[in-house]
Amino acid sequence: MPMLHTVNKSPFQTTTLESCLRLAKKGSAVLLIEDAVYGALDGTAVSARVAKRMKELKFYVLGPDIAARGLGEAKLIDGVTVVDYGNFVDLVAEHDATQAWM
């Protein structure tokens, strides 16, 4: 399987997510963790960044980080899958390599 990219920075504050999405190849997966989970929310000024690559990349978001930030009930961008730490491990195992965008 192709790469897993993890991103941990808020897309409102840094250009980290943009850099990841500029380089990530079709078919790879992007897991939003820590402050990057804000990038999974629908209806924000940056939602389009994730939405526009939804057809080419598979997007995941870490549920524990979503819950911690009070976003448990928030509407996510269509197609984003919520995962837990165990699924995070599975994603790393299923992909050939992992790259951390920080």
Binding site: T6, N8, G86, V92, T98, Q99, A100, M102
Partner: protein
């Protein structure tokens, strides 16, 4: 599967150490082997046993130490990064050791997957 983990930030200031810990615990829970956790940059501050968070907060230094000793994880602190930041042998909790950056590269070679957590 065999995992290697790189932790680039100290406890509390950045979530990196928390996330890495949860990842390591989950990997072990799923029957994987976590061979080595390498602490680099400010990550070396996870190996200061004097750390004493408030009673209602998590103690990351103790958590790593316990996870490492219970599951035979090699917890390695980078010597060069540790010297700069004043992390010496006397400060190390059980299960941690100080060694060279070569241990990180070796973990990259020996592990099926290397996962990086930082800022």
């Amino acid at each position: 599967m065999r995992f290697g983990i790189l932790v680039n930030e100290g406890p509390f200031t950045h979530q990196a150490s928390d996330t890495a810990y949860q990842f390591a615990k989950a990997a072990i829970g799923k029957g994987h082997k976590v061979g080595r956790v390498f602490f680099y940059h400010d990550g070396v501050n996870n190996a200061n046993k004097l750390s004493e968070p408030q009673a209602d907060d998590r103690n990351l230094v103790a958590l790593w130490s316990k996870l490492g000793t219970e599951h035979g994880i090699d917890l390695v602190v980078c010597v060069a990064a540790a010297m700069r930041r004043g992390i010496k042998d006397d400060l190390l909790p059980a299960g941690f050791r100080i060694s060279g950056l070569g241990q990180l590269i070796e973990a990259g070679i020996a592990s099926d997957r290397l996962v990086v957590f930082g800022d």
